[in-house]
Symmetry: C2
Subunit: 692 residues, 2 copies
């Protein structure tokens, strides 16, 4: 009785709190909007100071709106999760709240025309980054914000308020995207990623390029048609179409992956989708900047020219490989620092170093003219593969949790901003023909990516990508944060404005409809759910030697890389693997001794070399796994093989890594990060649990 | 043999890595500095775009310098900690590295005069926040950065580079200080803080005001003298002197506290110093803004006027209490939200909510015209006192670690920036007389704060503040981040520039000399080190009833507050304490039932109500503490008292809270945050350890 009443009380209080928050939000919107400049003093200095203060207040209030939006989103998500309501993901919800606030800002509040803006008509020849204005003997410094088209001019003066809640688009690239992308790299599910590496690379590179060109060509056709019927109000070149193709080719199935994760959908499908979405962001961003850089010589800047195209292509390769190299290099430096110092005794220092080094990748890449976001992605993958093993257990937790939080906040911020900007952005160009064409092109572009490539890949794969997987991948081609960030980056021309408006609609549609329909699609395609990744293994292992030969045949590239990684990179960068004195040729003896950590010698002294991804030493394994009784468990299969278990050799290591790779996180007691959390081993041994 | 070789190898590699980092830093400084604008295309658009890109690269490179500096600092700190070298704290080290890089930037690199700045001389009547410039038909938007004095004009054009590494001072108040101050509040050592609350409030409020006026008056005398001997090159009013007094009254003994913590210095001394430094930051910031707001009517703006002073005083009270109320209010809302929702099932959401709510305090306060930093401080204290108890154990860890990391990064960033700015700031005014006067005034101001107040406080205290404690507090009056941030906020006038330069020297001197000499000072003053906070208790408890009466006599204010907190606030805001149905009058029955959580009824059903600060229930306590044999342990003392332990009543609760309060963190298995980490209970019972 008492309890029931309290539950009701809790509900009522929740509702009250919620209302409170909503009221706070609306009050903060209204009050802060209406705050008029205070009494003006005679002294000009004070006026300037007050204006700066007023502007700061305004900025705080604007940011506060977003914080309140995020808070509301979090509370609602909690309610959804609490009630197991899966049709709306947090990102979709953030967009809805953003939309609502956008409507209020746009139509609900009237702000008097701000007369404090002045247009100087003094003819200058250039637009310098810094401008000094001489106002009756006093000098004021002004910084360039950007060009404003003549059509915008009235808007600027008219609706200062809406412009205020509009962030500088570079905020997305320099502040919000890096943690999202780093987190994606840092939490990449390594085992299944590497098993499907070939296919993922094919989808990400070839697929994105195909999608980009298919969409670009279709949009060009659409634009031509629009010109014919007189629907186009400005220039729209083929490069613009290609640019549109590039930006909407970046998929971001965060909603789908969250549901996959919750329902434990097939791990290979998960790996294919996640791997593809992570890498095609990188491809799309470099591709779009290469298209923008396409500049034929001479007067006619929009003709086809081989040299310019080659230059663009060279730029694509250069920027991509440069960013890749920088990202990997910083990751390696971090791994070396954490290996050769005893920083792990001071977790705060260790976490801070990890954070700073990862951030410096981004800055270094940007300072060198490469793409920071791409560098950060590969840095994240490298950190997860090497540095993570050198960190103390505490720092492993801390770094995972830190980037998980940053990712969560940044992602929801972007999505709620997306909702807001549908109403607050002042230069929308909604062209029905273009929008219909774009939806069609996006659909066909995705189809031209998935189906032909899957067909080709299936020729080489034994473990085929079945047609229902293909349909699911087709369906899961959501567009998200990256597409939005790329499209808002430049909205100066008519073409870009039209693209931006259309992109917004594409994102809304795919996140709400495709994201919301994931569970239906899964059951419609009869895709297995509730698959334990270990069960999955045991099925494969039951196929026995066939599976092994599959691996040996199809993943030869991976096998070469794996051997190199296991024999040289891991021993150099981490405390694990065989000592370098054993793997390097004798002539490199001193160097090998120098680089090998004492732990590696201990590893060697054991019967077989221990793989870094398994913290368990051999003794532990036989001890712990010996009494596992669950026969469906992959580990059980291994144990039953008995003598094979004590064999040495890289091929066996590879097999073990493929089988156990994911357990590592659980073994170390690390809390699993959301998108990876599907491989909890089903140990029945209580002693083992204690050890974890 | 092998091991020894590897240790050597490790050392060599560490050195190599270090060199590598240094080289990276210098290369990144040089290369990025030298990057000249690339080939200019004919099209103006592209020129603007390229310039923006160039500027972005430059910004990335500038930020990269700081990241590298922090990385270097971390590695060096590790080495110092590793070797137990205590003369230089991380903040002092960060300053040294900053100084070195500042020297390189100032004298090592020649940047050609940037001709892209243009001074427009068109006479305008105002300096609007946004300016639209018509450049040959195209409109460019410019935003106001600030006023530039005529003398600076040449510098602006001459040394763009040095200006580039100069951050907007508002960055400190809006980005770097909030996490530092919040962390201070969130990690305030509650037990000893509350025990000494009266003294701390006296030092923080009265002391800071005394110090401000003593320094202000002395500096005014000094300035008068300088005018006499013709050493003063500009205006310097009495309000400027008072402002100087306010900003250098904010103490920041982070170095001292770190050493206290490491050496386990007397907890009361620690609490006095930490509490004072946390609160006087808040007082100093509001005080300084009140002094700036002092504006007498009429033409002569620098005369004394009662009305203006009263207005300033009113503003001080208004802003302080407003910020206080806002901070506490947000903390309470967060506590309610975490109490009445089951958000604790989803740690990520919980942590995100906590972070966002704490941040929103800052924004809300700024948007309302209060002081965000002050609001954040009281929000942190409230969160620690109430919300922390509602969080899941995982989120308690996460939030502590998150703010610990943010605090560490922000603090070291500020100190390295301080070092850098000694050379890169272009308007230093070093006046030897003013500097000598300032050092003297700072010394005497601190003395006028500590000694008279301690004398007065000792009249009321039984547990006297001994003279060696007073000397230590005098010595530990370091100036740090807050003083710097306040002084760099406005460097427009000659007086402010002189203050800024002098403040920098004061900070350097106190951090290096006083901070470095802490251990010497401790041994010189014969202050006990290695004091376990529990031992300290047992000594007090051994004094028996005398101590209790001390508490009852001197802390009556605290006692009233404690009873209110225990009976009403804790039950409303957390799951602990007695149910409200028992403490509120019967007429409030429905409300009381509505607000009381089910756990509170469970608490009631036990023999005595359990205090939220103790997670252990009574059963646990008698079970766990029953077999503790260490007689020096406070808990042992309790056990031995037997029957008294089962007594009920708020006064006993208070006693328990005072005694056990700090154990709470350890009990819950929370990793302790650095500045608090001095109260690990010395349990010898292995079973208890397991439970932890």
């Amino acid at each position: 009785m008492v309890f029931k009443m309290t539950v009701n009380a809790t509900r009522r209080t929740t509702r009250t709190l919620w209302l409170l928050l909503l009221v706070t939000l609306s009050v903060c919107i209204c009050v802060c909007r209406a705050s008029s400049p205070q009494e003006d003093s005679a002294m000009e200095n004070i006026v300037t100071e007050k204006r700066a203060e007023e502007s700061h207040r305004q900025d705080s209030a604007d940011l506060l709106i977003f914080i309140m939006l995020l808070t509301l989103t979090i509370l609602t998500i909690w309610l959804f999760k609490h009630r197991r309501f899966r049709f709306l993901h947090e990102t979709g919800l953030a967009m809805i709240y953003g939309l609502l606030v956008g409507v209020v800002l746009r139509y609900g509040i009237h702000v008097p025309r701000d007369s404090s803006n002045i247009t100087l008509s003094c003819p200058v020849n250039a637009s310098p980054a810094t401008l000094l204005i001489n106002v009756s003997g006093k000098f004021y410094e002004y910084t360039l914000k950007g060009e404003i088209s003549a059509s915008e001019l009235d808007d600027v003066q008219d609706n200062e308020m809406l412009r205020k809640v509009t962030f500088d688009p570079e905020v997305f690239f320099n502040i919000l995207l890096p943690p999202i992308i780093f987190h994606a790299g840092y939490s990449l599910k390594r085992r299944h990623f590497f098993r499907n590496m070939g296919s993922i690379l094919a989808y990400a590179f070839l697929g994105t390029v195909i999608s980009c060109f298919v969409i670009g060509l279709m949009m060009y056709g659409c634009v031509m048609l629009m010109k014919q019927v007189g629907q186009l109000g400005g220039d729209f070149f083929f490069t613009d179409c290609l640019f549109f193709g590039a930006i909407v080719s970046a998929t971001d199935p965060v909603t789908v992956l969250a549901i996959f994760n919750e329902l434990q959908v097939d791990v290979d499908l998960y790996a294919l989708l996640f791997g593809e979405s992570v890498l095609n962001d990188a491809v799309a961003i470099v591709l779009s900047s290469s298209i923008v850089a396409y500049q034929p010589q001479g007067d006619n800047t929009h003709t086809f020219e081989v040299m310019a195209m080659l230059k663009s292509f060279g730029m694509f390769l250069g920027v991509f490989s440069g960013s890749f190299a920088l990202g990997v290099a910083t990751g390696i430096v971090t791994a070396l620092v954490t290996k050769f110092t005893k920083l792990r005794d001071f977790q705060l220092l260790e976490t801070a170093l990890f954070f700073l080094m990862s951030w410096s990748t981004f800055l270094l890449a940007e300072a060198c003219g490469f793409t920071g976001v791409v560098a950060v992605l590969f840095c994240g993958i490298t950190q997860a593969h090497y540095t993570f093993n050198n960190l103390s257990a505490d720092s492993q937790d801390r770094t995972k949790q830190l980037f998980e939080l940053l990712n969560f906040l940044a992602e929801n911020f972007i999505f709620s901003y997306m909702g807001l900007t549908l109403f607050t952005f002042q230069n929308h160009v909604f062209n029905p023909m273009f929008i219909v064409g774009a939806f069609l092109a996006v659909f066909l572009g995705r189809a031209a990516n998935i189906y032909p490539l899957s067909f080709l890949l299936n020729l080489g794969r034994r473990n085929k990508i079945t047609s229902n997987f293909q349909h699911m991948m087709m369906f899961a081609g959501l567009r998200g944060a990256m597409t939005f960030a790329l499209s808002i980056r430049d909205t100066a021309t008519y073409a870009r404005q039209m693209m931006f408006s259309t992109t917004l609609l594409v994102v809304f549609f795919t996140v709400w409809i495709c994201g919301g329909g994931t569970t239906q699609m899964l059951s419609c395609q009869r895709i297995r759910v509730g698959v334990d990744s270990d069960q999955d293994n045991s099925v494969s292992i039951a196929e026995g030697s066939e599976r092994r030969s599959t691996k040996q045949e199809s993943a030869w590239l991976f096998r070469i890389w794996y051997n190199f990684d296991h024999n040289y990179l891991k021993p150099i960068l981490t405390h694990s693997g065989p000592p370098l004195t054993a793997t390097l040729p004798p002539c490199c003896g001193p160097l090998a001794r120098f680089l090998t950590s004492p732990q590696a010698y201990e590893n060697e002294s054991q019967l077989r070399d221990d793989d870094s991804d398994l913290i368990l030493t051999d003794g532990d394994i036989s001890l712990t796994y010996g009494d596992i009784t669950v026969s469906t468990d992959a580990t059980g299969a291994h144990t039953s093989r008995g003598p094979a278990f004590t064999g040495t050799g890289a091929s066996d290591d590879l097999d073990r890594e493929l089988t156990y790779g994911d357990h590592e996180l659980v073994m170390r007691g690390t809390r699993l990060v959301l998108p990876m959390d599907d491989s909890e081993p089903t140990f029945t041994d209580p002693h083992h649990r204690l050890r974890v």
